[in-house]
Amino acid sequence: MSSSTSNSKRTTWLALAIALLGLELFTRSLLLPSSKEFQKLAELPSLGARLTASPGLRVALLGNSVTERGVDEALFNQELGRLWNQPVSSAVIAANASEVKTWYYMLEASFYRQELAPDVLVVTFFEDNLADGEVQLDRLAHRLTTLNDWPSLFRVDVTGFDERVQFVLASVWATQAAARRVHDRTMNMLLADYPAFATALYWLTHDPQSPHPPKPQPTYRALERFIARLKQRGQRTVFVAYPTRPGDPRAAYAVDPKALELLSAADICVVDLRDAPGITPDLYNADGAHLLTSGKSIYTRLLAMALGQLPAGCVR
């Protein structure tokens, strides 16, 4: 190898290292902090502290975007306060597309790590949110977990070798953690409405009228861990089955009896709002899950009423 080629190689390596370092700095200082999602997750501890310092009965509403876009906190406080005859303060602890694996760490970050706790925890789920599903590696790696959580993570959440490597990479390399965001933002720029395209593509190949091929039996290790933690903290909890658009076969879902069995064995009440009266198809947007603004107040009242009518011992 000639010396000029060696010099060129060295310069190339140096240039690559500088470029990657620059990208990492940019990601840590600008890209990730500018992400609303990451900001929300970073604010979870203060959100939890604010709630526990609030007056009255403190209710944390844990879930994903259907909770965030479905619950009007002020209206919820008012309605539930009226039903329970006491002031109620609430906070929505939600992250887009999150499920039980992420909820565990959201709860830890918001409350338990600070040795705080809400009076009542309301966990809203739909479809397979309670089953062991995909892990949101970027959020767990970069915002929601600490080194102390790694044993639990590797036991329940990231069990495969590839996932563990990706998790460790995302923990130390912010560019990897930001990959999904960069991907989604770029796709939205290229396609104007990437989620709508992805949905359209999905329905091109999944026939809602055909019998679904048998899914592999879901597991519930994350739910079991979640329940064990709630029991350990003596947390009063209600699980709510969220109502997706009625009459829409694409949006309908069944709650796995195994999940109900686990909740029941732990004496956790479950409220099923899937066929709740007052919920009509026109309240939803095109995906059949998220409520429009017109549906928010109706659902909030429904939720408050359902919680207010729970038997004593469930939450009070």
């Binding site: 690559l16 470029a19 091109l204 190949t205 026939d207």
Partner: protein, 549 residues
């Protein structure tokens, strides 16, 4: 375990860290062990088959060349085959073996009364004994009889293995369909066999060895270990490139220069990066677009527009190119790290101006194999025009069948055979004109679209699906359909653009040029490839397409 799994790279790192600390023979043994571990990780039962195929061709090559197999070597080969049949081919659970050895538990279920578990090992032992008896007689007989017998034995055994596992059910099903049409009742059932991974690749590679020994193109090797490594060298075992003995065997039997001290390391890194980009970004982004078009029928599915179907076919053309050329690039890159050179398997195939040129640029190792071992033995172009076109047609028909045991693969092969013949006829009637840029572009566009028509046949699950898609293209074509714009955008950004970026390097032909470029050329290229993989690898990676062959 495949190249997109991080577990593969972790294991490979372990293999690599030890490899260059070993002497030449130990390197070969180490690579052989690693190859069997990687291959066996899919399904250990298939290891018996690959060992059997290896033994058949190893002994076949020695027999063709008239080289006597000494007792020690013969014993080693026999033990390898019988032992692998016992361990991998008997279906006995390994835990039961361990119980017997450890506990002396003679009540274990595998006690000799269950002879069903020993059918394969018993048949293998009988075959080994029959071989030794037959081989002795052949070695004593006339040399030409011996040469032809061993060649027939080797080729026949390989085709029998391939035929049984890959084509038995196809022939049974076709026979049943034909009998139904003729109103005859046949009492046949399919075997529902699992297709061993890479069987089409390694049987072709092993067969070509024996044929090359017969033709005097290569000397047979006397080392079973080296030959076994030639057959199952893991970087290219599952999906090629199919290597010829005269190219790969000397690299195995001869010492290798330390790749860490040469440009091979850097070239290997570039090839692996390119391969991962082509697979994880290009192929896996195109896959959902193609799958949306080549979907299973369903009454509740929205209808497809003809323009979307055309775009879906383009997407598949880019998917299969990214997938397969990506795999080949990774195989070449890993091989360079280990001090080996594998042949280039793709050379900008969609820039071909004739179907013949396409097959000199696409899956080069297979098309050259078919040329040398099917087309030329059939007579090639030496027996007149009519037979030349027949030979082209038959060769491509067999090439189609090689890809899969289904009629739509056969029709795909026949389609390409027809194209080759038609273009040969057209060229024969006119002197090949020099192509100006406009004519070149028109020819490239024409050949690309003819290739895409072939891909439609290739990818469709059946001839009926292919026909329905074609009819829709011509009856319901609307460029204003909602999905057209997003399909076009994704195809341009993640399919077409990467192909354009390959042009300065002529695919993989001038990658050494990249290594000699200034840093301000190399850096953006590596950054682009690496960051595209990090940011845009599809969340759901699909299996390499050619693994199914």
């Amino acid at each position: 375990m495949n190249y997109t799994a991080l577990s593969f790279w972790a294991l490979f790192l372990g293999v690599y860290l030890v490899y260059w600390r070993l002497g030449h023979k130990a390197q070969n043994s180490w690579l052989l062990l690693a190859s069997y571990v990687f291959y066996g990780s899919w399904d250990p039962r298939f290891l018996f088959l690959i060992v059997l195929s290896t033994a058949v061709d190893f002994l076949g090559g020695l027999g063709v060349a008239g080289v006597t197999v000494d007792r020690a070597l013969g014993r080693r080969v026999a033990i390898a085959v019988i032992a692998s049949s016992l361990v991998f081919g008997s279906g006995l659970p390994w835990q039961e073996w361990w119980k017997v050895i450890w506990d002396g538990n003679t009540q274990a279920p595998f006690a000799p009364i269950r002879t069903a578990n020993f059918q394969v090992p018993m048949a293998t032992t009988a075959a080994v004994l029959a071989y030794w008896w037959g081989a002795k007689a052949l070695y004593r007989g006339p040399s030409e009889t011996r040469r032809k017998a061993f060649l027939t034995f080797s080729v026949g055994a390989n085709l029998a293995i391939l035929g049984y596992f890959k084509y038995a059910d196809f022939f049974v099903t076709s026979l049943l369909d034909l009998s139904r049409v003729c109103g005859v009742q046949l009492n046949l059932t399919t075997l529902n066999l699992v297709l061993p991974l890479g069987i089409s690749f390694y049987t072709f590679q092993a067969m070509s060895y024996t044929v090359d020994v017969y033709r005097g193109h290569v000397e047979p090797t006397r080392s079973f270990r080296d030959f076994a490594l030639f057959v199952c060298f893991f970087p290219h075992l599952i999906a090629g490139p199919i290597m010829r003995a005269h190219t790969l065997l000397p690299q195995i039997t001869g010492p290798r220069a330390d790749a860490r001290r040469t440009d091979q390391m850097a070239e290997g890194c570039v090839l692996v990066l390119i391969g991962l980009f082509k697979k994880l970004v290009m192929a896996d982004t195109m896959a959902p677009l193609a799958n949306a078009v080549f979907r299973n029928p369903g009454a509740g599915l929205p209808p497809l527009d003809g323009a979307v179907i055309v775009l879906g076919v383009y997407a598949f053309a880019l998917q299969i190119y990214g997938d397969f050329s990506g795999y080949s690039a990774i195989a070449r890159g890993i091989s360079k790290w280990l001090g080996f050179e594998l042949s280039v398997n793709f050379h900008l195939p969609y820039l071909a101006t004739t179907p013949g040129e396409f097959w000199r640029r696409w899956h080069i190792s297979l098309s050259s194999w078919l040329r040398d071992y099917v087309y030329i033995p059939l007579g090639g172009n030496r027996l007149g025009r009519a037979k030349e076109y027949r030979n082209l047609f038959v060769t491509m028909l067999l090439g189609g069948l090689w890809h899969g045991a289904s009629w739509h693969f056969v029709v795909w092969g026949a389609f390409h055979g027809l194209l080759l013949a038609v273009f040969r006829i057209a060229r024969a009637r006119t002197l090949a004109p020099a192509l100006n840029p406009v004519r070149w572009l028109l020819r490239v566009t024409l050949v690309f679209h003819l290739t895409c028509l072939g891909w439609l046949l290739f990818r469709a699950d059946s001839l009926q699906m292919a026909w329905q898609l074609l009819v829709t293209v011509f009856t319901h074509f609307d460029l204003g359909a909602p999905l057209v714009r997003p399909f076009v955008t994704l195809i341009l950004v993640f399919g077409f653009l990467p192909c354009v970026l390959e042009l300065p390097f002529r695919g993989e032909m001038r990658l050494d040029g990249l290594g000699r470029s200034p840093w301000w050329v190399q850096t953006p290229v590596y950054l682009y490839l690496g960051l595209m993989i990090v940011f845009f690898h599809a969340r759901q990676s699909s299996e390499f397409i050619y693994f199914q062959f």
